[in-house]
């Protein structure tokens, strides 16, 4: 018995201490790699891996190879908390990247504040602005010097989407939204903005996403939407809702001019489905974006992972890690103040184009805002960019 116990202690000690012997800069990544949000987390990891490969091929960080340690949060707050503290105290990282899920982000804030590493966070888009009696992520830590947010806030998403809607020239918009912290406040904000822009919103109706216990029968909600006969159906939900929603809209013979959706991602093979025709969607990155950066990213991504990125989270993760590498190299040190200064002032590469951190309503360092967003339209099996016009690859067509 005793020798087993001794061996165990040695093993645990090795696990705990072994990593400190590694040289060079290490960045800790928190992502949901298992459970319902695994798709997003795995997409992030794929983006980090591509950036890591390129960074190290280009000489690494401060002359040493960069390392990342990816921890699975399971999208569970308590697990995420333990994972963050492992990164801080066992792996001794000074930089944190990744992130997804408001629940996990809220759980981490207290501990972020304690350790105050540089946190460059992709997840937690719920700003809290516009929700009475609820403090969102931006309200809670936006002002911190060490907090860098690499994803538009919820109001940016809504701003972009409503700008697109207004540009289409439709008069009436029916809103369908999934009923969690993502779609609920988002749709309320969209309704307010649309009405400010002079549009009519005859109906805002909630549904239960397939991601959160729904069985994908949206006919009741769609029938109500059809009864409004609005020019546009605008829905906010998750990627697994795309197929049932779009097919049931047609099955129920609802023919709005536009079916516009804003999920966090789109199922990759959906383009080939007949119900995809003329569906429009908000997205953060398109593999066919006609810019050299986007093309290079997509090519490299396919080389590494064998398929095009399904999810714009990969592009944001890629941007996230490159920003760290460039800022630390520019600072020439891992000293926090110097790196923060570089992050504040620097311009960084990304598949979406050059970007930098700017203040948002509360946050000091906000990367990507309204102008991240593109609207694409499925046209004959291809996702054409239709908005904003300067990036468009094809004109928007009506479904009627």
């Amino acid at each position: 018995m005793l020798h087993i116990a001794r061996r165990l202690i040695v093993l645990v000690a090795a696990l705990a201490l072994g990593v400190t012997t590694a040289q060079g800069v290490t960045i800790g990544v928190l992502s949901p790699l298992t459970g319902g949000s695994a798709g997003t987390g795995l997409a992030q990891r794929a983006g980090f891996e591509l950036a890591l490969q390129e960074i190290n091929a280009a000489g690494g960080v401060l002359g040493e190879p960069l390392r990342i340690i990816v921890e699975d949060t399971q999208a569970n707050p308590a697990v995420g908390l333990a994972a963050f503290e492992k990164l801080m105290t066992e792996d001794d990282v000074e930089f944190i990247a990744g992130g997804f899920s408001s629940g996990v982000t809220l759980a981490l804030i207290e501990s972020f504040r304690t350790f105050q590493p540089i946190v460059m966070w992709i997840g937690g888009a719920v700003s809290g602005i516009g929700i009475d009696g609820f403090d969102g992520i931006e309200e809670l830590i936006g002002e911190e010097e060490w907090f860098f947010h690499v994803h538009p806030w919820d109001y940016h998403n809504v701003e972009a989407a409503t700008a697109f809607v207004a540009d289409t020239g439709v008069q009436t918009v029916t809103l369908l939204h999934e009923d969690s912290a993502f779609g609920g406040p988002g749709s309320a904000g969209a309704q307010a903005l649309l009405e400010d822009a002079g549009l009519t919103v005859p109906l805002r109706e909630a549904f239960t996403s397939t991601l959160l216990g729904g069985t994908g029968d949206f006919r009741a909600a769609i029938a109500k939407a059809a009864a409004t006969n609005a020019d546009m159906l605008y829905w906010i939900g998750y990627d697994s809702d795309v197929v049932p929603l779009t097919s049931q809209i047609r099955e129920l013979n609802y023919r709005p001019q536009h079916i516009f959706g804003a999920p966090p991602g789109w199922p990759s093979e959906f383009a080939a489905a007949p119900e995809a025709q003329c569906v429009t969607g908000l997205i953060g990155f398109m593999p066919n974006l006609p810019t050299p950066e986007a093309q290079a990213f997509t090519r490299a991504y396919v080389d590494l992972h064998g398929a095009e990125p399904d999810n714009y989270m990969a592009a944001l993760a890629y941007a996230n890690l490159w920003a760290y590498a460039d800022a630390i190299n520019a600072a020439g040190t891992t000293d926090q103040a110097a790196v923060i200064a570089e992050l504040q002032t620097g311009t960084f590469r990304s598949p979406i184009g050059d970007w930098s951190f700017q203040p948002s309503i509360i946050a000091k360092h906000q990367g990507f805002t309204t102008d991240l967003w593109l609207v694409f339209q499925y046209q004959n099996g291809v996702r054409e960019i239709v908005w904003p016009l300067e990036k468009a690859t094809a004109p928007l067509v009506s479904c009627r």
Binding site: G213, R219, A220, K224, D239, S240, V243
Partner: protein, 288 residues
């Protein structure tokens, strides 16, 4: 109230009962005949859905035809799982069976995550998913109609099999009295094997349906499993016809509430489980 909406709600509800019955009937067989509470049943749907997807992507096989391949494939997987694990816990307390099947479910989910990733997959290129027949202002969806017909055919077929065929009679005998069945020369273990494989095969068919109407993901089975468990229990364990009636009742109720109440879709689960709770409690008080 718009009469059209009401009629649509009724039609949608009735058709939705087909899918509910389909996902429940395999579970009813497992619980009713073998007496095993299979926590991995939802993962069987999930595997069925991914198999249909893979057959489509790799060989261009339409889900209509992959039904014929996925059902036996799941039957085989079910038989393997039965032979390698389930048969060792038949006499164990039901909690042991739950832990075992929960463990199997975790293994299957995470294997699917490794193989297919976490992003939703899509069976693209099938035209019938969006087809609805307009009858007097009410739309009848082709897929819900087909799944209704398939489901009721399967359920009635299963009912017939249990009543009329030798293996069906053997299943009923084993379900009622395991020892007695063994005494009259039935190979109980073989009957169980067949019943479990059949249960998995039926889950496979449900999985193909799910793959058609939504996107296969590693977690796609969960919502259906919770509801299937509830339907099977309310129907009365092993009561195949009861599954049909229970499915119709809850599906129509859900559809009506979802249509008539603002934001009613988000009340579907509440309506469903409130009915289940009320029926179970009411029945327990009535009998006493």
């Amino acid at each position: 109230m718009d009469l059209n909406l009401l009629a649509q709600a009724l039609v949608s509800g009735i058709l939705a009962a087909g899918l509910y019955a389909l996902v429940s009937v395999g579970l009813a067989l497992a619980i009713g005949v073998i007496g095993i509470v299979n926590f991995a049943h939802g993962e069987f749907f999930m595997i069925g859905a991914f198999l249909a997807y893979q057959l489509f992507v790799s060989f261009g096989i339409d889900p209509v035809w992959s039904l014929l391949l996925v059902a036996p494939a799941l039957g085989l997987i079910g038989a393997l799982i039965y032979t390698s694990t389930i048969r060792f816990v038949l006499k164990a307390p039901e909690l042991n069976q739950m832990l075992l099947t929960f463990g199997i479910g975790i293994i299957l989910t995470n294997m699917a995550l490794l193989i297919w990733g976490g992003d939703p997959r899509t069976i693209a290129g099938i035209a019938y998913r969006s087809i609805g027949y307009q009858v007097g202002g009410v739309s009848i969806g082709l897929v819900p109609l087909a799944s209704f017909v398939i489901s009721f055919t399967l359920v009635l077929g299963l009912y017939w099999m249990l009543a009329r065929t030798p293996i069906g009679r053997a299943m009923r005998a084993v379900a009622q009295n395991r020892t007695g069945a063994a005494l009259v020369g039935l190979e109980v273990n073989r009957v169980y094997l067949v019943a479990f494989a059949l249960s998995a095969a039926l889950a496979g068919i449900g999985g193909v349906m799910i793959a058609v109407i939504q996107s296969p993901t590693p977690g796609v089975g969960l919502a259906f499993t919770l509801k299937a468990f509830a339907i099977v229990v309310v129907a009365g364990l092993g009561n195949i016809r009861g599954v049909l009636f229970a499915s119709l009742f809850v599906a129509i109720s859900e559809s009506l509430v979802a249509t008539l109440v603002p934001n009613g879709d988000t009340l579907r689960n509440a309506v469903f489980f409130a009915i289940i709770f009320a029926v179970l409690v009411w029945r327990s008080r009535r009998v006493a």
